[in-house]
């Protein structure tokens, strides 16, 4: 699914140049669950952004199904994200003025499908995460765990091939965290998604098929990675 070759991302801050990701080579197979572990500020989220086309590498290539994301024009990149990539954020990132159903529906708007079809798919997505009875609730009326479930439904409603999750349980209590990870795991298996999950939690990382570790912008994979 993914092929990263020599990927480097540097940021300019005034006169300084800050390397966030350095010379990353990575291959992620179709349907694989990869956990990227590491301490805060070591480049995990930056790598996830590069995988999702939310940012472009300074050097190297990020290929998704053979397409170099860094070379795509913005409109095509946006279209690719709309169709193929689902995002789950640590802070849920739900739109506060929209209900749970409308937040999930927002992911289908770029696809141009009609309202009847959208309604059916939204209902199915919320049902899949166990929130069919909360469709009309605003985010402020939902618990943290429920909000993250809505975010998961939003990520999956368009049947993506890739789901990128950035600390999906980071803002949740222990019990809810486990519920969310169990839900993600189930959906990953049922839908044969390619799942890349960023976490600083070793227990969560161990549930993945493979663990990679980011340290100071460098990525190491498998048994070679030191525990953070």
């Amino acid at each position: 699914m993914y092929q990263l070759t020599g990927v480097t991302k540097r940021y300019r801050k005034g006169h300084r140049t800050i390397p966030a990701v350095t010379a990353v080579d990575l291959t992620i197979g179709d349907g694989e669950w990869l956990a990227i572990q590491g301490r805060t500020g070591h480049g995990k989220t930056t790598l996830l952004n590069l995988l999702g086309g939310l940012d472009r590498p300074t050097e190297g290539t990020v290929e998704l199904a053979g397409t170099d994301l860094g070379a795509l024009p913005e409109t095509q990149l946006t279209h690719l994200r709309a169709q193929s990539i689902g995002f789950i954020f640590q802070t849920f990132n739900l739109i506060p003025t929209l209900t749970a159903a409308e937040n999930v529906e927002a992911a289908l708007i770029p696809l141009g499908s009609g309202q009847p079809e959208r309604r059916v798919r939204v209902a199915a997505a919320l049902h899949a995460v166990g929130l069919a009875d909360r469709a009309a609730h605003l985010p402020i009326e939902l618990s943290g765990g429920q909000q993250q479930r809505v975010a998961i439904a939003r990520a999956l409603v368009k049947d993506p091939t890739v789901v990128l999750a950035d600390e999906p349980a980071g803002n949740l209590d222990e019990d809810t965290r486990d519920d969310i990870i169990v839900l993600l795991e189930r959906l990953w298996r049922e839908r044969r998604l390619t799942l890349v999950l960023v976490t600083h939690d070793t227990a969560i990382a161990r549930r993945a098929q493979r663990v990679a570790v980011m340290t100071d912008g460098h990525l190491t994979t498998g048994q070679d990675s030191p525990n953070p």
């Binding site: 939310l54 940012d55 954020f89 640590q90 927002a106 992911a107 770029p110």
Partner: protein, 476 residues
């Protein structure tokens, strides 16, 4: 559906800000509407003053030089009043007699005569769509008491005065008669072209007990009154009596002559408003010894508070409205940009979901336009309220309008004190009625929506520059 749902929810979330921006736009728009209405009202008031002076459909007037002080007629000609050692004498065609106990009616033109052929020449000019001649006369009746001329200080003679307009019955849309409204009897018809019939101004009729069907003597001729007319309230000094031009031209003047074939006013309608200066120039070339007056030059002679109000509305009022509107739009722009900054993470999320930048911009623009429309509606309401306040509270304006010719004034004043209204320019009350036209309402809506769009454009510029990763990091 999703678009409007999202839009409505966002406006509700930022209700206070939306109301604040809408009110700001409403204030600016309301001021624009009020000032435009007041300006239109003042223009209408001024136009009413001018219309009463020279008629509604007249763009340009041509007059000969004002006549010099009437010298006593040459012996044997006409009627005159002379002062002798035994008192005043009335001389008619060379024969004089004591004026004591007698009345005399003197008919004089207000301006120098010109041949009717000049009217035809004017009508043939390029850019002239119509021309008509008029003959403005003044009828002065002087009455001498029986004791006039006796030793011991006799009572002075008394004078009555009224103005007469010989109107072209084939061109009643030109000249002072065009602004008149029949309130009793009927107006002139084509058959009245040379008849001894008259239409009298309502003010003069009321003060002299005249009605349709009664009679009035002009010079020495008796005219039947066929109608009573009212001139606009804001009028200057409209004629007291209107008679057909041909009848006026047959009247014997005080100097023994008649105005046969003559006019002393030419009223001209230009083919277009833009052509008025050209017409004015061509008339000056065609008739070099005349005075060519347009509404603009006449307006400059009208002074008083109506002129001051016109300046106030067009200068201070307009600039104040523009400044307030600019300030309102500036505040709307700043608030929209601030809101976009606060919602950066939200927009970053939408971009991550695959929303195109133009789609997000359309959402923000929609919110701004909706606020602009609300501001427009409130602004129009404020404008109507402002116009109503002006109508209720504004004092009646006044206009000082030019009076009749000095020559006439001197003629009337030779033997008696000047007749009322016959000498100096005089003051007329001009009520102010602000008027809001559909065009002003449309302008107000456009201004407010444009203000909203401009504010949305500033916000959109920020959105277009947002990088998804950078926007999302603001949450983290």
């Amino acid at each position: 559906m999703f678009f409007t749902t999202y839009l409505g929810r966002e406006l509700r979330r930022r209700m206070h800000q939306a109301i604040f921006v809408a009110l700001g736009l409403a204030l600016g728009v309301g001021l624009v509407v009020t000032v435009a209405a007041a300006s239109a009202g003042v223009t209408k008031a001024e136009a009413g003053v001018l219309a009463a002076l020279y008629g509604v459909g007249t763009d340009v007037t041509v007059t000969g030089p004002a006549l010099p002080a009437r010298t006593p007629a040459a012996p044997g000609n006409g009627t005159s009043i002379q002062a002798g050692p035994a008192g005043y004498e009335i001389c008619r065609d060379g024969r004089c007699e004591s004026a004591a106990g007698h009345s005399v009616q003197l008919l004089d033109p207000q301006y120098s005569p010109a041949p009717s052929a000049d009217v035809a020449a004017v009508a043939r000019l390029r850019e002239v769509s119509a021309a008509a001649g008029g003959l403005l006369l003044s009828d002065t009746a002087v009455t001498f008491p029986p004791s006039s001329g006796q030793a011991g200080g006799a009572a002075p003679p008394s004078a009555g005065f009224f103005s007469v307009d010989g109107a072209d019955t084939g061109h009643l849309a030109l000249g002072p008669f065009s602004a008149a409204r029949i309130i009793s009897g009927h107006s002139f018809t084509a058959a009245d072209a040379g008849a001894d019939v008259a239409v009298v101004d309502s003010g003069y009729a009321a003060s002299h007990g005249l009605t349709a069907g009664s009679a009035i003597t002009i010079g020495t001729v008796r005219f039947t009154i066929i109608g009573i007319v009212a001139q606009p309230q804001s009028g200057g000094s409209p004629p007291d009596v209107y008679i057909p031009l041909a009848a006026a031209q047959e009247l014997q003047l005080a100097d023994g002559s008649a105005g046969t074939g003559n006019v002393n006013m030419i009223y001209v309608t230009a083919a277009s408003a833009a052509g008025i200066p050209t017409v004015s120039k061509e008339l000056s070339k065609l008739l070099p010894h005349t005075t060519v007056t347009t509404a603009a030059t006449l307006a400059s002679q009208v002074t008083g508070s109506v002129a001051g109000a016109a300046e106030l509305a067009s200068d201070l009022g307009r600039w104040l409205a523009v400044l307030v509107l600019i300030a309102a739009v500036a505040v709307a722009c700043l608030l929209t940009m601030a809101a976009v900054t606060r919602r950066a993470a939200e927009f970053g999320t939408l971009k991550a979901l695959g929303w195109r930048t133009c789609r997000i911009i359309a959402q923000v623009l929609g919110e701004s336009v909706a606020t602009g429309i609300a501001g427009a509606a409130a602004g129009v309401g404020l404008g109507f309220a402002g116009a109503a306040i002006i109508t209720t509270l504004a004092p009646t304006l006044s206009a000082t309008v030019p009076g009749p010719s000095a020559a006439f004034a001197q003629a009337a004043g030779q033997v008696a004190p000047p007749a009322p209204g016959s000498t100096a320019p005089h003051l007329v009350a001009v009520p102010l009625h602000p008027s809001i036209t559909a065009g002003v309402i449309v302008l107000a809506v456009i201004l407010a929506v444009a203000g909203g769009l401009l504010a949305g454009a500033f916000g959109s510029w920020r959105i277009a520059r947002l990088r998804p990763a950078g926007a999302l990091s603001r949450v983290a």
